[in-house]
Protein backbone atom coordinates (compact mmCIF):
# COMPACT_ATOMS: atom_id res chain seq x y z
CA UNK A 1 0.00 0.00 0.00
CA UNK A 2 2.72 2.37 1.02
CA UNK A 3 4.83 1.38 -1.97
CA UNK A 4 1.90 1.89 -4.31
CA UNK A 5 1.17 5.29 -2.85
CA UNK A 6 4.73 6.48 -3.18
CA UNK A 7 4.84 5.11 -6.70
CA UNK A 8 1.78 7.10 -7.59
CA UNK A 9 3.26 10.15 -5.95
CA UNK A 10 6.51 9.80 -7.87
CA UNK A 11 4.59 9.40 -11.12
CA UNK A 12 2.71 12.61 -10.40
CA UNK A 13 5.96 14.35 -9.58
CA UNK A 14 7.54 13.26 -12.87
CA UNK A 15 4.39 14.39 -14.64
CA UNK A 16 4.77 17.90 -13.28
CA UNK A 17 8.49 17.91 -14.05
CA UNK A 18 7.83 16.74 -17.62
CA UNK A 19 5.37 19.52 -18.36
CA UNK A 20 7.27 22.16 -16.36
CA UNK A 21 9.36 23.71 -19.18
CA UNK A 22 6.39 24.11 -21.52
CA UNK A 23 4.04 25.18 -18.78
CA UNK A 24 6.31 27.81 -17.28
CA UNK A 25 6.78 29.16 -20.80
CA UNK A 26 3.03 29.05 -21.35
CA UNK A 27 2.38 31.02 -18.16
CA UNK A 28 5.05 33.64 -18.88
CA UNK A 29 4.59 34.08 -22.64
CA UNK A 30 0.90 33.40 -23.23
CA UNK A 31 -1.29 33.33 -20.11
CA UNK A 32 0.18 36.32 -18.29
CA UNK A 33 0.50 38.45 -21.46
CA UNK A 34 -3.21 37.98 -22.24
CA UNK A 35 -4.12 39.29 -18.80
CA UNK A 36 -1.60 42.13 -19.08
CA UNK A 37 -2.77 43.05 -22.59
CA UNK A 38 -6.35 43.16 -21.37
CA UNK A 39 -5.30 45.41 -18.50
CA UNK A 40 -3.23 47.64 -20.80
CA UNK A 41 -6.23 48.19 -23.03
CA UNK A 42 -7.77 50.31 -20.22
CA UNK A 43 -4.70 52.50 -19.86
CA UNK A 44 -2.81 55.21 -21.58
CA UNK A 45 0.57 53.53 -21.68
CA UNK A 46 3.73 55.50 -22.14
CA UNK A 47 6.95 53.53 -22.48
CA UNK A 48 8.78 56.00 -20.23
CA UNK A 49 6.10 57.11 -17.75
CA UNK A 50 4.22 53.82 -17.47
CA UNK A 51 0.48 53.17 -17.43
CA UNK A 52 -2.34 55.49 -16.40
CA UNK A 53 -5.83 54.06 -16.02
CA UNK A 54 -8.25 55.76 -18.41
CA UNK A 55 -11.23 53.41 -18.24
CA UNK A 56 -12.96 52.72 -21.53
CA UNK A 57 -11.41 55.68 -23.34
CA UNK A 58 -9.42 53.51 -25.75
CA UNK A 59 -12.53 51.59 -26.68
CA UNK A 60 -14.66 54.68 -27.18
CA UNK A 61 -11.84 56.28 -29.17
CA UNK A 62 -11.91 53.30 -31.53
CA UNK A 63 -15.47 54.16 -32.53
CA UNK A 64 -14.37 57.50 -33.95
CA UNK A 65 -10.96 56.46 -35.28
CA UNK A 66 -11.28 56.87 -39.04
CA UNK A 67 -7.96 55.12 -39.71
CA UNK A 68 -9.12 52.10 -37.71
CA UNK A 69 -12.20 51.89 -39.92
CA UNK A 70 -9.99 52.02 -42.99
CA UNK A 71 -7.64 49.26 -41.82
CA UNK A 72 -10.57 47.09 -40.74
CA UNK A 73 -12.22 47.58 -44.11
CA UNK A 74 -8.95 46.70 -45.88
CA UNK A 75 -8.54 43.60 -43.75
CA UNK A 76 -12.14 42.52 -44.31
CA UNK A 77 -11.74 43.01 -48.07
CA UNK A 78 -8.43 41.17 -48.14
CA UNK A 79 -9.82 38.33 -46.01
CA UNK A 80 -13.04 37.78 -47.92
CA UNK A 81 -11.54 37.82 -51.41
CA UNK A 82 -8.31 35.98 -50.62
CA UNK A 83 -10.11 33.25 -48.68
CA UNK A 84 -12.64 32.62 -51.44
CA UNK A 85 -9.91 32.50 -54.11
CA UNK A 86 -7.43 30.47 -52.06
CA UNK A 87 -9.98 27.89 -50.97
CA UNK A 88 -11.86 27.78 -54.29
CA UNK A 89 -8.76 27.37 -56.46
CA UNK A 90 -7.23 24.99 -53.92
CA UNK A 91 -10.33 22.80 -54.12
CA UNK A 92 -10.32 22.75 -57.92
CA UNK A 93 -6.62 21.88 -57.99
CA UNK A 94 -7.13 19.09 -55.49
CA UNK A 95 -10.03 17.61 -57.45
CA UNK A 96 -8.00 17.86 -60.66
CA UNK A 97 -5.00 16.17 -59.07
CA UNK A 98 -7.20 13.52 -57.47
CA UNK A 99 -8.51 12.40 -60.88
CA UNK A 100 -6.96 9.43 -62.58
CA UNK A 101 -3.56 10.90 -63.38
CA UNK A 102 -0.38 8.83 -63.34
CA UNK A 103 1.21 8.99 -59.90
CA UNK A 104 4.39 10.64 -61.15
CA UNK A 105 2.54 13.46 -62.90
CA UNK A 106 0.29 14.01 -59.90
CA UNK A 107 3.24 14.31 -57.50
CA UNK A 108 5.06 16.61 -59.91
CA UNK A 109 2.19 19.09 -60.08
CA UNK A 110 1.46 18.80 -56.38
CA UNK A 111 5.05 19.79 -55.60
CA UNK A 112 4.94 22.77 -57.94
CA UNK A 113 1.69 24.12 -56.52
CA UNK A 114 2.75 23.47 -52.94
CA UNK A 115 6.32 24.78 -52.87
CA UNK A 116 5.50 28.53 -52.49
CA UNK A 117 3.70 27.68 -49.23
CA UNK A 118 7.10 27.02 -47.67
CA UNK A 119 8.72 30.29 -48.79
CA UNK A 120 8.63 33.26 -46.41
CA UNK A 121 6.14 36.02 -47.28
CA UNK A 122 9.04 38.44 -47.02
CA UNK A 123 11.01 36.87 -49.89
CA UNK A 124 7.92 36.49 -52.04
CA UNK A 125 7.00 40.13 -51.55
CA UNK A 126 10.51 41.23 -52.57
CA UNK A 127 10.25 39.18 -55.78
CA UNK A 128 6.72 40.31 -56.61
CA UNK A 129 7.55 43.93 -55.97
CA UNK A 130 9.89 43.75 -58.94
CA UNK A 131 7.35 41.81 -61.03
CA UNK A 132 4.71 44.46 -60.26
CA UNK A 133 6.99 47.43 -61.01
CA UNK A 134 5.05 49.83 -63.21
CA UNK A 135 7.70 50.59 -65.83
CA UNK A 136 10.24 47.82 -65.48
CA UNK A 137 8.12 44.87 -64.26
CA UNK A 138 7.44 41.91 -66.49
CA UNK A 139 3.69 41.83 -65.80
CA UNK A 140 3.20 45.21 -67.43
CA UNK A 141 5.66 44.30 -70.17
CA UNK A 142 3.69 41.23 -71.25
CA UNK A 143 0.36 43.02 -70.81
CA UNK A 144 1.62 45.84 -73.02
CA UNK A 145 2.34 43.25 -75.71
CA UNK A 146 -1.39 42.53 -75.88
CA UNK A 147 -2.26 46.20 -75.61
CA UNK A 148 -3.22 46.36 -71.93
CA UNK A 149 -1.96 48.71 -69.30
CA UNK A 150 0.33 49.88 -67.87
CA UNK A 151 -1.39 48.86 -64.64
CA UNK A 152 -0.29 50.73 -61.49
CA UNK A 153 -0.20 47.50 -59.47
CA UNK A 154 1.29 48.92 -56.29
CA UNK A 155 1.07 52.65 -56.95
CA UNK A 156 -2.68 53.06 -57.02
CA UNK A 157 -4.91 52.78 -53.99
CA UNK A 158 -7.49 51.07 -56.18
CA UNK A 159 -5.14 48.32 -57.33
CA UNK A 160 -2.80 47.71 -54.43
CA UNK A 161 -5.00 45.46 -52.32
CA UNK A 162 -5.98 43.42 -55.35
CA UNK A 163 -2.29 42.99 -56.28
CA UNK A 164 -1.47 41.77 -52.79
CA UNK A 165 -4.39 39.32 -52.88
CA UNK A 166 -3.15 37.94 -56.20
CA UNK A 167 0.28 37.34 -54.69
CA UNK A 168 -1.28 35.78 -51.61
CA UNK A 169 -3.27 33.33 -53.73
CA UNK A 170 -0.10 32.41 -55.60
CA UNK A 171 1.58 31.61 -52.30
CA UNK A 172 -1.18 30.00 -50.26
CA UNK A 173 -3.59 28.20 -52.55
CA UNK A 174 -1.25 25.20 -52.58
CA UNK A 175 -1.83 24.81 -48.86
CA UNK A 176 -5.60 24.60 -49.35
CA UNK A 177 -4.95 22.13 -52.18
CA UNK A 178 -2.87 19.92 -49.89
CA UNK A 179 -5.50 19.90 -47.13
CA UNK A 180 -8.24 19.14 -49.67
CA UNK A 181 -6.19 16.29 -51.14
CA UNK A 182 -6.02 14.77 -47.66
CA UNK A 183 -9.78 15.23 -47.27
CA UNK A 184 -10.52 13.72 -50.68
CA UNK A 185 -8.59 10.61 -49.81
CA UNK A 186 -11.08 9.94 -47.01
CA UNK A 187 -13.98 9.66 -49.47
CA UNK A 188 -14.38 5.97 -50.35
CA UNK A 189 -13.84 5.28 -54.06
CA UNK A 190 -16.93 3.04 -54.15
CA UNK A 191 -19.20 6.08 -54.00
CA UNK A 192 -17.86 7.24 -57.34
CA UNK A 193 -18.09 3.77 -58.84
CA UNK A 194 -21.74 3.53 -57.83
CA UNK A 195 -22.39 7.00 -59.22
CA UNK A 196 -20.74 6.08 -62.49
CA UNK A 197 -22.89 2.95 -62.78
CA UNK A 198 -25.93 5.14 -62.17
CA UNK A 199 -24.79 7.28 -65.08
CA UNK A 200 -23.61 10.34 -63.19
CA UNK A 201 -20.93 12.38 -64.97
CA UNK A 202 -17.94 14.06 -63.35
CA UNK A 203 -19.69 17.37 -62.68
CA UNK A 204 -22.66 15.59 -61.13
CA UNK A 205 -20.44 13.45 -58.95
CA UNK A 206 -18.57 16.56 -57.81
CA UNK A 207 -21.72 18.33 -56.63
CA UNK A 208 -23.57 15.28 -55.32
CA UNK A 209 -20.73 13.34 -53.69
CA UNK A 210 -17.51 15.34 -53.34
CA UNK A 211 -18.91 18.61 -52.03
CA UNK A 212 -21.30 17.21 -49.39
CA UNK A 213 -18.80 14.69 -48.05
CA UNK A 214 -16.05 17.28 -48.08
CA UNK A 215 -18.09 19.93 -46.26
CA UNK A 216 -16.41 19.42 -42.85
CA UNK A 217 -13.01 19.76 -44.53
CA UNK A 218 -14.15 22.84 -46.45
CA UNK A 219 -15.37 24.49 -43.28
CA UNK A 220 -12.18 23.63 -41.41
CA UNK A 221 -10.04 25.05 -44.22
CA UNK A 222 -12.20 28.19 -44.45
CA UNK A 223 -11.63 28.90 -40.77
CA UNK A 224 -7.88 28.29 -41.00
CA UNK A 225 -7.59 30.64 -43.96
CA UNK A 226 -9.82 33.28 -42.39
CA UNK A 227 -7.88 33.40 -39.13
CA UNK A 228 -4.66 33.52 -41.15
CA UNK A 229 -5.90 36.29 -43.46
CA UNK A 230 -7.20 38.41 -40.58
CA UNK A 231 -3.62 38.48 -39.27
CA UNK A 232 -2.01 39.44 -42.60
CA UNK A 233 1.17 41.43 -41.97
CA UNK A 234 4.49 40.24 -43.43
CA UNK A 235 3.60 40.41 -47.11
CA UNK A 236 2.02 43.88 -46.99
CA UNK A 237 4.74 45.23 -44.69
CA UNK A 238 7.38 44.37 -47.27
CA UNK A 239 5.62 45.00 -50.55
CA UNK A 240 3.78 48.28 -49.88
CA UNK A 241 4.28 49.20 -46.22
CA UNK A 242 0.54 49.74 -46.09
CA UNK A 243 0.54 52.36 -48.80
CA UNK A 244 -0.18 54.27 -50.85
CA UNK A 245 -1.52 56.20 -47.87
CA UNK A 246 -3.42 53.63 -45.84
CA UNK A 247 -4.82 51.87 -48.89
CA UNK A 248 -3.29 48.49 -48.06
CA UNK A 249 -2.71 48.83 -44.33
CA UNK A 250 -4.04 45.84 -42.39
CA UNK A 251 -5.32 45.69 -38.85
CA UNK A 252 -2.13 43.99 -37.58
CA UNK A 253 0.02 46.60 -39.29
CA UNK A 254 -1.98 49.26 -37.49
CA UNK A 255 -1.45 47.48 -34.15
CA UNK A 256 2.26 47.22 -34.94
CA UNK A 257 2.48 50.88 -35.87
CA UNK A 258 0.63 52.04 -32.75
CA UNK A 259 2.56 49.74 -30.40
CA UNK A 260 6.10 49.90 -31.75
CA UNK A 261 6.39 53.06 -33.83
CA UNK A 262 4.45 55.57 -31.77
CA UNK A 263 4.53 53.46 -28.57
CA UNK A 264 0.86 54.02 -27.90
CA UNK A 265 0.68 50.58 -26.33
CA UNK A 266 -2.58 51.03 -24.46
CA UNK A 267 -4.54 51.84 -27.59
CA UNK A 268 -2.69 49.14 -29.56
CA UNK A 269 -3.72 46.59 -26.90
CA UNK A 270 -7.35 47.64 -27.16
CA UNK A 271 -7.27 47.22 -30.96
CA UNK A 272 -5.54 43.85 -30.52
CA UNK A 273 -8.38 42.79 -28.20
CA UNK A 274 -10.94 43.35 -30.96
CA UNK A 275 -8.92 41.12 -33.28
CA UNK A 276 -8.62 38.55 -30.49
CA UNK A 277 -12.40 38.43 -30.00
CA UNK A 278 -12.90 38.05 -33.76
CA UNK A 279 -10.49 35.13 -34.04
CA UNK A 280 -11.74 33.53 -30.84
CA UNK A 281 -15.30 33.71 -32.15
CA UNK A 282 -14.34 32.09 -35.45
CA UNK A 283 -12.49 29.26 -33.73
CA UNK A 284 -15.30 28.57 -31.28
CA UNK A 285 -17.76 28.59 -34.17
CA UNK A 286 -15.60 25.98 -35.85
CA UNK A 287 -15.64 23.81 -32.73
CA UNK A 288 -19.41 24.08 -32.36
CA UNK A 289 -20.31 23.51 -36.01
CA UNK A 290 -17.49 21.03 -36.60
CA UNK A 291 -18.81 18.80 -33.85
CA UNK A 292 -22.28 18.82 -35.36
CA UNK A 293 -20.91 17.93 -38.76
CA UNK A 294 -18.94 15.02 -37.42
CA UNK A 295 -22.20 13.60 -36.02
CA UNK A 296 -23.84 13.87 -39.40
CA UNK A 297 -21.26 11.71 -41.10
Amino acid sequence: MLVKLSHRRSEALSGYLFIAPIYIGFLIFIAAPIVVAFGLSFTKFDILKGATFIGLNNYTHMLTDARLQTVYRNTALFTSISVVLNVGIGLLLAVALNSRLPRLIRNFYRSIFFFPVLIAHTYISVIWQFLYAKDTGIFNYYLSQIGVGPIPWLNSSQWVLFSIILMDVWKNTGFAMLLFLAGLQNIPGEYYEVAQIDGANGVNAFFKITLPLLSPTIFFILVIFMTGALQVFDSIMVISEGGPGDASRSIVMYIYEKAFRTFDMGYASAVAMTLFVLILGLTLLQFALGRRWVHYE
Binding site: E11, G15, I19, I22, A31, I119, V126, Q231, F233, V238
Partner: protein, 297 residues
Protein backbone atom coordinates in the same frame (compact mmCIF):
# COMPACT_ATOMS: atom_id res chain seq x y z
CA UNK B 1 -33.80 -19.61 -72.34
CA UNK B 2 -34.95 -16.10 -72.95
CA UNK B 3 -32.53 -14.94 -70.29
CA UNK B 4 -29.63 -16.57 -72.07
CA UNK B 5 -30.46 -14.92 -75.38
CA UNK B 6 -30.62 -11.53 -73.73
CA UNK B 7 -27.26 -11.63 -72.05
CA UNK B 8 -24.97 -11.10 -75.05
CA UNK B 9 -26.93 -8.06 -76.13
CA UNK B 10 -26.53 -6.48 -72.74
CA UNK B 11 -22.88 -7.28 -72.72
CA UNK B 12 -22.32 -5.66 -76.09
CA UNK B 13 -24.22 -2.58 -75.07
CA UNK B 14 -22.32 -2.21 -71.83
CA UNK B 15 -19.04 -2.64 -73.61
CA UNK B 16 -20.01 0.13 -75.98
CA UNK B 17 -20.85 2.53 -73.19
CA UNK B 18 -17.59 1.68 -71.50
CA UNK B 19 -15.69 2.48 -74.64
CA UNK B 20 -17.53 5.74 -75.15
CA UNK B 21 -16.92 6.69 -71.52
CA UNK B 22 -13.22 5.92 -71.68
CA UNK B 23 -12.83 8.26 -74.62
CA UNK B 24 -14.66 10.98 -72.74
CA UNK B 25 -12.51 10.37 -69.67
CA UNK B 26 -9.38 10.74 -71.73
CA UNK B 27 -10.55 14.10 -73.11
CA UNK B 28 -11.32 15.16 -69.55
CA UNK B 29 -7.88 14.09 -68.39
CA UNK B 30 -6.29 16.02 -71.23
CA UNK B 31 -8.21 19.15 -70.31
CA UNK B 32 -7.28 18.70 -66.65
CA UNK B 33 -3.66 18.33 -67.61
CA UNK B 34 -3.80 21.43 -69.76
CA UNK B 35 -5.29 23.53 -66.95
CA UNK B 36 -2.77 22.16 -64.48
CA UNK B 37 0.09 22.96 -66.84
CA UNK B 38 -1.03 26.54 -67.35
CA UNK B 39 -1.41 26.90 -63.59
CA UNK B 40 1.99 25.35 -62.96
CA UNK B 41 3.50 27.79 -65.43
CA UNK B 42 2.23 30.72 -63.36
CA UNK B 43 3.49 29.07 -60.18
CA UNK B 44 7.00 28.63 -61.53
CA UNK B 45 7.26 31.96 -63.34
CA UNK B 46 8.12 34.27 -60.38
CA UNK B 47 10.75 31.87 -59.07
CA UNK B 48 12.22 31.38 -62.52
CA UNK B 49 12.36 35.15 -62.96
CA UNK B 50 14.16 35.41 -59.62
CA UNK B 51 16.71 32.84 -60.68
CA UNK B 52 17.33 34.19 -64.17
CA UNK B 53 17.60 37.76 -62.87
CA UNK B 54 20.12 36.68 -60.26
CA UNK B 55 22.28 35.30 -63.10
CA UNK B 56 22.13 38.48 -65.15
CA UNK B 57 24.85 41.13 -65.16
CA UNK B 58 23.70 44.32 -63.43
CA UNK B 59 23.52 46.25 -66.69
CA UNK B 60 20.80 43.87 -67.92
CA UNK B 61 18.79 43.34 -64.76
CA UNK B 62 15.92 45.39 -66.12
CA UNK B 63 16.12 44.19 -69.72
CA UNK B 64 12.74 43.50 -71.30
CA UNK B 65 11.64 41.03 -72.46
CA UNK B 66 13.46 39.14 -69.73
CA UNK B 67 15.84 36.39 -70.76
CA UNK B 68 14.19 33.45 -69.03
CA UNK B 69 16.92 30.90 -69.44
CA UNK B 70 20.36 32.29 -68.56
CA UNK B 71 22.81 31.50 -71.33
CA UNK B 72 25.83 31.57 -69.06
CA UNK B 73 26.11 30.71 -65.41
CA UNK B 74 27.23 33.93 -63.84
CA UNK B 75 27.58 33.86 -60.07
CA UNK B 76 28.99 37.40 -59.72
CA UNK B 77 25.80 38.63 -58.10
CA UNK B 78 25.99 35.89 -55.51
CA UNK B 79 29.52 36.92 -54.62
CA UNK B 80 28.33 40.52 -54.52
CA UNK B 81 25.75 39.59 -51.85
CA UNK B 82 28.58 38.70 -49.49
CA UNK B 83 30.72 41.68 -50.48
CA UNK B 84 28.04 44.31 -49.88
CA UNK B 85 28.08 46.37 -46.71
CA UNK B 86 24.98 44.55 -45.44
CA UNK B 87 26.25 41.55 -43.41
CA UNK B 88 24.27 38.88 -45.25
CA UNK B 89 26.29 35.96 -43.91
CA UNK B 90 25.75 37.19 -40.36
CA UNK B 91 21.97 37.27 -41.00
CA UNK B 92 22.20 33.72 -42.28
CA UNK B 93 24.05 32.56 -39.17
CA UNK B 94 21.60 34.37 -36.88
CA UNK B 95 18.64 32.76 -38.61
CA UNK B 96 20.28 29.35 -38.41
CA UNK B 97 21.11 29.77 -34.73
CA UNK B 98 17.59 30.83 -33.76
CA UNK B 99 15.92 28.22 -35.96
CA UNK B 100 18.03 25.34 -34.63
CA UNK B 101 17.58 26.41 -31.00
CA UNK B 102 13.80 26.69 -31.38
CA UNK B 103 13.47 23.41 -33.29
CA UNK B 104 15.61 21.36 -30.90
CA UNK B 105 14.05 22.98 -27.83
CA UNK B 106 10.52 22.40 -29.08
CA UNK B 107 11.23 18.77 -29.90
CA UNK B 108 12.54 18.15 -26.39
CA UNK B 109 10.00 20.12 -24.36
CA UNK B 110 6.97 19.24 -26.47
CA UNK B 111 7.80 15.55 -26.31
CA UNK B 112 8.25 15.49 -22.52
CA UNK B 113 5.01 17.41 -22.08
CA UNK B 114 3.22 15.33 -24.70
CA UNK B 115 4.36 12.15 -22.96
CA UNK B 116 3.24 13.39 -19.56
CA UNK B 117 -0.20 14.46 -20.82
CA UNK B 118 -0.64 11.12 -22.59
CA UNK B 119 0.89 8.64 -20.19
CA UNK B 120 1.49 9.95 -16.69
CA UNK B 121 -1.24 10.37 -14.09
CA UNK B 122 -1.13 13.54 -12.02
CA UNK B 123 -3.81 15.72 -10.45
CA UNK B 124 -5.09 18.46 -12.77
CA UNK B 125 -3.77 16.81 -15.91
CA UNK B 126 -6.85 17.36 -18.07
CA UNK B 127 -7.56 20.93 -17.08
CA UNK B 128 -3.89 21.87 -17.55
CA UNK B 129 -3.93 20.31 -21.00
CA UNK B 130 -7.13 22.05 -22.05
CA UNK B 131 -5.77 25.41 -20.88
CA UNK B 132 -2.64 24.85 -22.94
CA UNK B 133 -4.69 23.87 -26.00
CA UNK B 134 -6.85 26.98 -25.63
CA UNK B 135 -3.73 29.04 -26.31
CA UNK B 136 -3.97 27.93 -29.95
CA UNK B 137 -6.75 30.48 -30.29
CA UNK B 138 -4.60 33.39 -29.13
CA UNK B 139 -3.11 35.43 -31.98
CA UNK B 140 0.51 36.51 -31.38
CA UNK B 141 -0.45 40.14 -31.90
CA UNK B 142 -2.29 40.07 -28.58
CA UNK B 143 0.62 38.73 -26.53
CA UNK B 144 3.45 40.51 -28.30
CA UNK B 145 3.13 43.86 -26.50
CA UNK B 146 3.39 42.39 -22.97
CA UNK B 147 6.19 40.08 -24.15
CA UNK B 148 8.01 43.13 -25.45
CA UNK B 149 7.69 44.75 -22.01
CA UNK B 150 8.95 41.53 -20.35
CA UNK B 151 11.95 41.35 -22.68
CA UNK B 152 12.69 45.02 -22.10
CA UNK B 153 12.70 44.62 -18.33
CA UNK B 154 14.95 41.54 -18.71
CA UNK B 155 17.21 43.59 -21.00
CA UNK B 156 16.78 41.00 -23.74
CA UNK B 157 15.75 43.36 -26.55
CA UNK B 158 18.07 42.83 -29.52
CA UNK B 159 19.06 39.46 -28.09
CA UNK B 160 18.26 36.19 -29.93
CA UNK B 161 16.78 34.86 -26.68
CA UNK B 162 13.88 37.31 -27.08
CA UNK B 163 12.84 35.29 -30.16
CA UNK B 164 13.87 31.85 -28.95
CA UNK B 165 12.19 31.79 -25.52
CA UNK B 166 8.59 32.65 -26.56
CA UNK B 167 8.88 30.41 -29.64
CA UNK B 168 9.62 27.35 -27.51
CA UNK B 169 6.05 27.22 -26.24
CA UNK B 170 4.05 25.28 -28.82
CA UNK B 171 0.66 23.94 -27.82
CA UNK B 172 0.45 22.51 -31.31
CA UNK B 173 3.64 20.49 -30.82
CA UNK B 174 2.50 19.18 -27.43
CA UNK B 175 -0.83 18.18 -28.95
CA UNK B 176 0.76 16.35 -31.90
CA UNK B 177 3.14 14.37 -29.72
CA UNK B 178 0.49 13.59 -27.13
CA UNK B 179 -1.64 12.13 -29.92
CA UNK B 180 1.26 9.89 -30.86
CA UNK B 181 2.13 8.77 -27.32
CA UNK B 182 -1.52 7.83 -26.76
CA UNK B 183 -1.15 5.16 -29.42
CA UNK B 184 1.68 3.31 -27.66
CA UNK B 185 0.61 0.00 -26.08
CA UNK B 186 0.53 0.12 -22.27
CA UNK B 187 2.25 -3.29 -22.10
CA UNK B 188 5.35 -1.82 -23.66
CA UNK B 189 5.64 0.89 -21.01
CA UNK B 190 4.79 -1.59 -18.24
CA UNK B 191 7.52 -3.93 -19.45
CA UNK B 192 10.05 -1.12 -19.18
CA UNK B 193 8.88 -0.31 -15.65
CA UNK B 194 9.13 -3.99 -14.62
CA UNK B 195 12.66 -4.04 -16.01
CA UNK B 196 13.39 -1.32 -13.48
CA UNK B 197 13.38 1.70 -15.74
CA UNK B 198 12.25 4.95 -14.12
CA UNK B 199 9.87 7.36 -15.85
CA UNK B 200 12.68 9.26 -17.54
CA UNK B 201 14.34 6.12 -18.94
CA UNK B 202 11.00 4.72 -20.10
CA UNK B 203 10.42 7.97 -21.92
CA UNK B 204 13.92 8.47 -23.29
CA UNK B 205 14.81 4.90 -24.26
CA UNK B 206 11.46 3.32 -25.08
CA UNK B 207 8.84 5.90 -26.03
CA UNK B 208 10.89 8.64 -27.70
CA UNK B 209 12.69 6.46 -30.28
CA UNK B 210 9.29 5.20 -31.44
CA UNK B 211 8.08 8.77 -31.92
CA UNK B 212 10.62 9.50 -34.67
CA UNK B 213 8.08 10.09 -37.48
CA UNK B 214 6.05 12.50 -35.34
CA UNK B 215 9.22 14.25 -34.22
CA UNK B 216 10.36 14.61 -37.82
CA UNK B 217 7.01 16.11 -38.80
CA UNK B 218 7.14 18.62 -35.96
CA UNK B 219 10.78 19.44 -36.73
CA UNK B 220 9.99 20.24 -40.35
CA UNK B 221 7.04 22.48 -39.49
CA UNK B 222 8.89 24.30 -36.70
CA UNK B 223 12.04 24.76 -38.79
CA UNK B 224 10.09 26.28 -41.65
CA UNK B 225 7.95 28.54 -39.47
CA UNK B 226 10.93 29.85 -37.51
CA UNK B 227 13.15 30.28 -40.56
CA UNK B 228 10.43 32.39 -42.18
CA UNK B 229 9.38 34.35 -39.10
CA UNK B 230 9.38 38.09 -39.69
CA UNK B 231 6.96 39.66 -37.18
CA UNK B 232 8.92 38.80 -34.03
CA UNK B 233 12.43 39.65 -35.27
CA UNK B 234 11.13 42.92 -36.68
CA UNK B 235 10.01 43.93 -33.18
CA UNK B 236 12.73 42.43 -31.02
CA UNK B 237 15.96 42.54 -33.06
CA UNK B 238 17.21 46.01 -33.83
CA UNK B 239 20.89 45.86 -34.76
CA UNK B 240 22.38 44.44 -37.97
CA UNK B 241 24.55 42.20 -35.87
CA UNK B 242 21.50 40.28 -34.56
CA UNK B 243 18.98 40.48 -37.40
CA UNK B 244 17.64 37.42 -39.22
CA UNK B 245 17.42 36.71 -42.95
CA UNK B 246 13.86 37.90 -43.69
CA UNK B 247 14.70 41.22 -42.03
CA UNK B 248 18.04 41.30 -43.79
CA UNK B 249 16.50 40.76 -47.22
CA UNK B 250 14.05 43.59 -46.67
CA UNK B 251 17.01 45.77 -45.67
CA UNK B 252 19.23 44.63 -48.52
CA UNK B 253 16.46 45.55 -50.93
CA UNK B 254 16.37 49.03 -49.46
CA UNK B 255 20.09 49.48 -49.83
CA UNK B 256 20.32 48.10 -53.33
CA UNK B 257 16.97 48.54 -55.02
CA UNK B 258 18.18 51.70 -56.67
CA UNK B 259 19.45 49.91 -59.72
CA UNK B 260 20.34 46.40 -58.71
CA UNK B 261 17.62 43.81 -58.48
CA UNK B 262 20.11 41.17 -59.64
CA UNK B 263 22.00 41.18 -56.36
CA UNK B 264 18.78 41.29 -54.34
CA UNK B 265 17.45 38.31 -56.29
CA UNK B 266 20.69 36.43 -55.66
CA UNK B 267 20.23 37.05 -51.94
CA UNK B 268 16.60 35.91 -52.06
CA UNK B 269 17.63 32.79 -53.99
CA UNK B 270 20.24 32.01 -51.33
CA UNK B 271 17.64 32.47 -48.59
CA UNK B 272 15.16 30.14 -50.25
CA UNK B 273 17.85 27.54 -50.98
CA UNK B 274 17.79 25.77 -47.56
CA UNK B 275 14.01 25.41 -47.79
CA UNK B 276 14.26 24.08 -51.35
CA UNK B 277 16.89 21.51 -50.33
CA UNK B 278 14.82 20.33 -47.38
CA UNK B 279 11.74 20.16 -49.59
CA UNK B 280 13.47 18.01 -52.18
CA UNK B 281 15.05 15.68 -49.62
CA UNK B 282 12.08 15.31 -47.28
CA UNK B 283 9.16 16.02 -49.58
CA UNK B 284 6.97 13.13 -48.51
CA UNK B 285 7.35 14.00 -44.81
CA UNK B 286 6.67 17.66 -45.37
CA UNK B 287 3.56 17.08 -47.41
CA UNK B 288 2.24 14.61 -44.85
CA UNK B 289 3.12 16.77 -41.87
CA UNK B 290 1.55 19.90 -43.35
CA UNK B 291 -1.57 18.02 -44.43
CA UNK B 292 -2.01 16.68 -40.92
CA UNK B 293 -1.22 19.95 -39.23
CA UNK B 294 -3.67 22.28 -40.83
CA UNK B 295 -1.35 24.97 -39.60
CA UNK B 296 0.18 27.61 -41.77
CA UNK B 297 3.96 27.76 -41.99
Amino acid sequence: MSVLSQTPAIRVESRLTVRRKSVRVRWGALLTLLVLTVGAFFMVMPLLWMFSTSMRPTSQSFSLPPVWIPTTLNFDNYAEVFRSNVPFFQFFLNSLKITLAVTIGQLLFCSTAGFAFARLRFPGRNILFILLLASLMVPTQVTVIPIFLIMRSLRLIDNPLSIILPSLVSAFGVFQLRQFFLTLPQDLLDAATIDGAGTWRTFWQVALPLARPSLAALAVITFNATWNNYFYPLIFLTSWQNMTLPQGIALLRGYMSSGNPSVVMAAVALSILPILIIFIVAQRWIVEAMARSGLKG
